[in-house]
């Protein structure tokens, strides 16, 4: 792995060849470029107008300027410094404005990572460009991505905090509106499921931890519920606020340990 772009190394125990969520899909909006970091590497995430998501090394191979300050035209990304253009998908340079008549060499290509979308998240694998994982906990459930929360604590600390206990309400807007202890299952170091259930109703929050670097992480959450929901927007907002408050408390507890 190149030292370029490493601002903080990931924890030595973090696996490189693995899929991690890096953003909610709805945050990667058209014509924007999202800057994120995974295991100490900066990544520029952007969606083309056909909907395809790219996860690129966040530096132009020409002079190292962050591509996230560039321009997303819907088919290409333009570097802010010299206007070099890179095609969605291949990352190949298509045009160098300083030499308009010349075809850019094959070596003029940005570093790409595996990228895909599943369960409302954009996933990145630093090694393998393959398919992101399938992780639905509940068949035919209603799924909602919760607001992702940045933590100044490594993923391992967040996971440890979470496994000590997590509470949330099965139905924040209805009968079961008080938080109760969730049953916790860790499928691996970065994926922990918290579930609460009652008769004919169940809610599961799948926590997906993004190791940003040695001392930071992002807590992503996917909420799945079965049973009746009111379908009222005000209720939906109240549910999101409830989970946001619980996840914020988790973040605070993890940061306290650092």
């Amino acid at each position: 792995m190149s030292a370029i772009g490493l601002t903080a190394a990931g924890d030595a125990s973090d696996p490189i060849d693995r899929w991690f969520p890096v953003a909610r899909g709805e945050e990667v909006v058209a014509r924007h470029i999202v800057q994120t970091q995974l295991l100490g590497r900066e990544i520029a995430v952007w969606r083309d107008d056909a909907g395809v998501v790219n996860a690129w090394e966040n530096r132009c191979p020409h002079r190292g300027v962050r591509l996230s300050i560039g321009l997303n035209t819907g088919t290409e990304l333009h570097c802010r410094y010299h206007g070099w253009r890179y095609a969605s998908g291949s990352g190949q340079c298509t045009y160098v404005p300083a030499h308009p008549g010349q075809k850019p060499a094959a070596a003029m290509r940005v570093g790409r990572f595996g990228a895909g979308e599943a369960h409302g998240f954009v996933w990145v694998n630093l090694i393998e460009p393959a398919e992101p994982p399938h992780l639905s906990a509940l068949a035919s459930a209603q799924a909602t991505t919760l607001r992702s929360i940045y933590a100044r604590a490594p993923a391992v600390t967040v996971a440890a905090c979470l496994l000590r206990g997590y509470r949330f309400a099965l139905d924040p807007t209805g009968a079961d509106d008080s938080p109760t202890d969730a049953a916790l299952v860790a499928s691996d170091a970065y994926t922990i499921r918290a579930s609460v259930h009652a008769v004919l109703r169940e809610a599961v929050v799948t926590f997906l931890l993004q190791p940003v670097g040695a001392s930071q992480s992002v807590i992503h959450g996917l909420l799945e519920t079965t049973g009746e929901t009111s379908g009222v927007d005000a209720d939906r907002l109240a549910v999101l606020r409830h989970h946001n408050a619980q996840m914020t408390a988790l973040r605070d507890a993890a940061e306290e340990l650092c």
């Binding site: 772009g5 002079r63 190292g64 300027v65 802010r80 206007g83 300083a98 308009p100």
Partner: protein, 284 residues
């Protein structure tokens, strides 16, 4: 206690402060080559004293409106510009700007022609005039680099330019952290305005860019020159601060140059051959 910094930099002069600013504030602290400096004006004699840590600095001079110091034993003089003596020129400091990147990257950016149409669009370049025509570079171990024959279409080449025209540029890299630009004056197109960039290496990954302008007077006001140069440099700064890594790689192939970058490529080669390591990721 001398840090492991090459003599080429340690035993050379570096601009560290704008003298007029120091006159106003009386005191100024800064850092050169990772060494903290404290400058103090003696109002009685209008002279400057400098200390590095606790120790007085013997090698201190005022030149071109800047305070210069040498931390080691000066083996050569401060760079000399004969133009600065011309009576019909306006000499001025145009700002000292802290930039969170290696000073070598700041020098390279100053030498760079192909960014003008993008970073300085509407002033020093403009689409579709993005093509960089061939120019010449000469390199010598002793005298540095000379870059000549650059022709650039500029919509507003200087504070007094009223229309766009093709400007002739040339550059000289005189020291690892010193570069000067000569460009045709918009009124007397056979004479050249001069802008020098003295980069103060603060650390390997940060610098202060000191600008000296030496324009022909023709209706030019000092404040307008200063404002123009600060505006232009303000456009460069966010680009420079987004370069990764912050130090400049000297290994060929770590960053991909094209023909328009022959000046940059020659600069990197010259630095590598001269043994400059400070602010660089040295060639393997």
């Amino acid at each position: 206690m001398r840090p492991q910094i090459e003599s080429l930099l340690w035993d050379d002069w570096h601009a560290v402060a704008d003298f007029e600013q120091l006159r106003r504030s009386g005191r100024f602290v800064t850092t050169l080559l990772d060494v903290p400096l404290a400058l103090e004006l003696d109002p009685e004699t209008d002279s400057v004293r400098a200390r590095a840590g606790g120790a007085p600095i013997a090698s201190l001079r005022i030149k071109y409106g800047f305070v210069w110091v040498c931390l080691g034993e000066p083996v050569r003089d401060i760079v000399e510009f004969p133009e600065c003596g011309d009576a019909d020129r306006l000499l001025g400091t145009a700002g000292s700007v802290r930039v969170a990147v290696s000073g070598l990257r700041a020098v390279e950016n100053f030498l760079d022609l192909s960014h003008l149409s993008f970073v300085h669009a509407g002033f020093l370049g403009e689409e579709p005039f993005t093509e960089v025509k061939p120019y010449s570079v000469e390199s010598s171990a002793r005298d540095g680099l000379t870059v000549t024959g650059c022709r650039v279409y500029q919509p507003k080449a200087s504070p007094i330019a009223r229309e766009g025209f093709e400007v002739n540029y040339s550059y000289a890299v005189l020291r690892p952290y010193t570069v000067v630009l000569y460009k045709a004056n918009p009124v007397e197109q056979d004479r050249r305005d001069m802008i020098a960039l003295f980069v103060q290496p603060v650390s390997e990954e940060s610098c202060v860019a000191h600008l000296l302008t030496c324009y022909l007077r023709h209706g030019v006001e000092a404040a307008a020159v200063r404002r123009f140069q600060q505006f232009i440099f303000g456009q460069d700064r966010p680009i420079l601060e987004n370069q990764l890594p912050k130090r400049m790689p000297l290994t060929a192939g770590r960053e991909i140059p094209v023909r328009a970058d022959v000046a940059s490529a020659a600069y990197r080669r010259w630095l590598a051959e001269a043994g400059v390591r400070y602010g660089a990721i040295p060639a393997a």
